[in-house]
């Protein structure tokens, strides 16, 4: 295999692997920018994945499946928002319970929603899926071709990313969102509805996370298996920090994370003498390295990393 073809193949799988991560990461960035930490991602992704696959399996409609995943993700996030914003509960505890609840319920549904012929198990069933749609001409270009041989959900990412960045940094609504995450008191004084903002972006984050889960069960690894996400919800939480709460850098992180796995498996398959354990460690090692460099660089340039009010409940009466 030529070097070009190899790089092209790595790039293709990297983008596919990164898609679900990008959806969830952008969602969580928006949630955290409003000052709400949602550790329920793993559960929400699993719920999105199982409901999307079940819907596609029974109705045959992939778009309806996406809609269901978005609604389910949004509902779980709304529960989190209710507990954290209205009830002012501890965000870490609430997020963790949503992960536990979501993963458990997803497994449960996977064992009940299937056809009678398969003991009501959804596992192992084959349903409709999003297949890559090569874009004529563009997909035959060297290297860049990899970008144009993807499924529709990845194409949507190309549109979503600049929009997510632009909205956050260049619009008034984005500014309000950031203000709520930095200093809810000030935002409140300026006439921004803190409660409404936090609800809105927590739910939006949940919807995108549900979509990320749906990409796994409908496109990347079509079908339902218990624990399909394999801890990707937690990787996303690391990615958000990695991206320093900037949707633009989230792409970089997601692609890097997806890409290193693809590269290390190819090195192994090619029979390199580097120990597999070391190669398997690479993605995590890189994350730590980038974190160190980023933090250092952020400190130098006196920029702010995490939203200052992240994880804190807002009470109007408190000073």
């Amino acid at each position: 295999m030529s070097v070009f073809a190899l790089i092209s193949s790595i790039l293709t799988i990297t983008l596919r692997a990164g898609t679900s991560l990008i959806y969830a990461t952008v969602g969580e960035i928006y949630t955290e920018r409003s000052g709400i930490l949602n550790l329920g991602l793993e559960g929400m992704m699993l719920m999105g994945a199982v409901t999307a696959f079940a819907t596609a399996f029974y109705t045959g409609s992939l778009w309806l499946a996406l809609l269901v995943a978005v609604i389910v993700g949004g509902l779980l996030a709304a529960l989190h928002a209710f507990l954290c914003v209205t009830m002012r509960a501890n965000q870490v505890v609430s997020g963790l319970s949503i992960t536990l609840f979501g993963s458990g319920l997803a497994s449960f549904l996977g064992q009940r929603l299937g056809p009678a012929s398969n003991n009501y198990f959804l596992v192992g069933m084959v349903g409709p899926k999003f297949t890559p749609i090569p874009i004529p001409f563009l997909n035959s270009l060297p290297l860049i071709g990899a970008f144009f041989n993807q499924d529709i959900l990845t194409y949507i990412v190309y549109l979503l990313m600049p929009l997510a960045w632009f909205y956050l940094y260049k619009t008034r609504a984005g500014l309000s969102l950031r203000a709520v995450g930095e200093s809810p008191q000030t935002a409140d004084a300026m006439g921004i509805d803190v409660v409404r903002t936090r609800y809105l972006y927590t739910i939006l984050g949940g919807m995108l996370t549900g979509l990320g889960g749906a990409h796994l069960s409908l496109a990347y690894t079509p079908g339902w298996t218990e624990n399909l996400t394999g801890g990707r919800g937690w990787i996303v939480i690391a990615l958000v920090i990695f991206a320093m709460w900037n949707p633009g850098r989230a792409v970089l992180g997601a692609v890097l994370f997806g890409g290193i796995n693809a590269v290390q498996f190819r090195l192994q398959a090619a029979g390199t003498a580097i120990p597999a354990a070391f190669l398997n460690m690479l993605p995590y090692l890189t994350t730590i390295l980038v974190l160190v460099v980023m933090t250092w660089w952020e400190a130098l340039s006196k920029r702010i990393g995490a939203p200052a009010a992240l994880g804190k409940a807002y009470m109007r009466e408190e000073k």
């Binding site: 193949s9 501890n90 690894t221 298996t225 996400t229 192994q268 029979g271 597999a276």
Partner: protein, 365 residues
């Protein structure tokens, strides 16, 4: 204050929902006399279509055999370590007569609880520690792997076979070596490329590893993992595969040529039967293919009759006592490790840490 009440309430509710999903009572029971109570501890869900699925199939075979004379129960997704001891102890306290634990990491908790309950019989799958009331059981999967290797060796066109493997432990290395010996017994040109994933269960990683092997030119993919994802990846590229654990052809399609698979039913029926008769004694069972504990799943129509005949001949040789790891066997560097006319002992096989000739890959220290 009020919000803490709310929080606690919702947590308790969530916990209750989760727990009620975990434990399932699965028999109707209801005999006049006391049914024999058997419990199973599973590492994964019965819906994994692999390792736990097969143990659960064994449990169901047990129920079908003994009907209402026994009562079985299982708990799924039990983490290895101290938590397992708690689950096992609970079963013993509830008056269960026999407890099966089906993963290697339950070994020490099992030993601990077995000492506390001398009247309860314990059986541990894949471990090596025993006691008067604690037996071990496992199957010689490598024999079925060898047969699957013959199928792969005959069906490959590129002479490259990809092997997605979980961890570099003797059990997995033994499988890779036996498979490769099978491949090379019919096709000395073919090579087996190994990629380690360092996980038993991660559909996404397993798929990526398989795709990397396919890119490297592999036209048959096999695996030592817990999901069907490598098989699906091969199918999407129009390539063939060989499954593992369960009959993966049923879940993926005819591109899965066959699967070396587990079949615990006969063993469970035999050992529980012995326990009910009072003839049970502690043992270390490493069941050969002849007992039906391991074997090949039904072939895909893509496997020609000549290949099937060749496999049958090899199977007969193994039944006749000519086991897989009998010499001459060379390692990756071409050095002879087992001389002609000699066979590895069980102890050697259980500690196997080198690749045979024909494997492309490394075992990290």
């Amino acid at each position: 204050m009020k919000r803490y009440v709310w929080m606690t309430l919702s947590l308790v509710l969530i916990a209750a929902m989760l727990l009620s999903g975990c434990a399932k009572k699965t028999t109707t029971g209801g005999t006049p006399e006391d049914p024999y109570k058997v419990a199973f501890i599973y590492i994964g869900p019965p819906g994994d279509l692999g390792w736990t699925y097969e143990h659960d199939r064994g449990r169901k075979a047990l129920e079908a055999e003994f009907g209402d004379r026994i009562e079985t129960k299982y708990i799924e997704n039990v983490p290895e370590g101290p938590d397992a001891a708690r689950v096992i102890r609970e079963f013993a306290q509830q008056g269960y007569d026999m407890v099966f634990a089906t993963s290697f990491g339950y070994m020490d908790p099992m030993v601990e609880v077995a000492q506390e309950f001398p009247d309860v019989k314990f059986e541990h799958c894949s471990g090596y520690k025993t006691a008067d009331n604690l037996a071990t059981y496992f199957g010689r999967m490598y024999q079925a792997r060898y047969l699957a290797g013959i199928v792969a060796g005959r069906m490959t066109k590129n002479n490259i076979i990809g092997y997605v493997a979980a961890f570099a432990i003797p059990e997995v290395v033994r499988g890779i070596d036996a498979f490769t010996l099978g491949v090379r017994s019919v096709n000395p040109e073919a090579q087996v490329y190994v990629v380690w994933t360092n996980t038993w269960f991660d559909p996404v990683i397993e798929r990526e590893a398989a795709v990397a092997l396919l890119d490297e030119g592999a036209d048959i993919i096999t695996q030592h993992q817990d999901t069907t994802e490598p098989q699906k990846a091969a199918q999407e590229r129009g390539m063939l595969s060989i499954g593992y654990d369960s009959d993966m052809r049923a879940f993926v399609g005819d591109t899965v040529l066959t699967s070396p698979m587990w079949n615990w039913g006969p063993y469970y029926i035999q050992t529980v039967g012995a326990a009910m008769d009072g003839t049970w004694a502690t043992h270390q069972y490493w069941g050969p293919m002849e007992d039906g504990v391991t074997g090949l799943a039904e072939y895909s129509p893509k496997v020609p009759q000549e290949v099937r005949d060749e496999v049958e001949a090899a199977r007969q040789k193994i039944y006749d006592g000519n086991d897989v790891f009998c010499g001459p066997i060379k390692d990756q560097d071409g050095q002879e490790r087992v001389a002609a006319g000699q066979c590895m002992t069980d102890a050697d096989m259980l500690a196997l840490d080198w690749f045979v000739e024909g494997v492309v890959g490394t075992i990290s220290e």
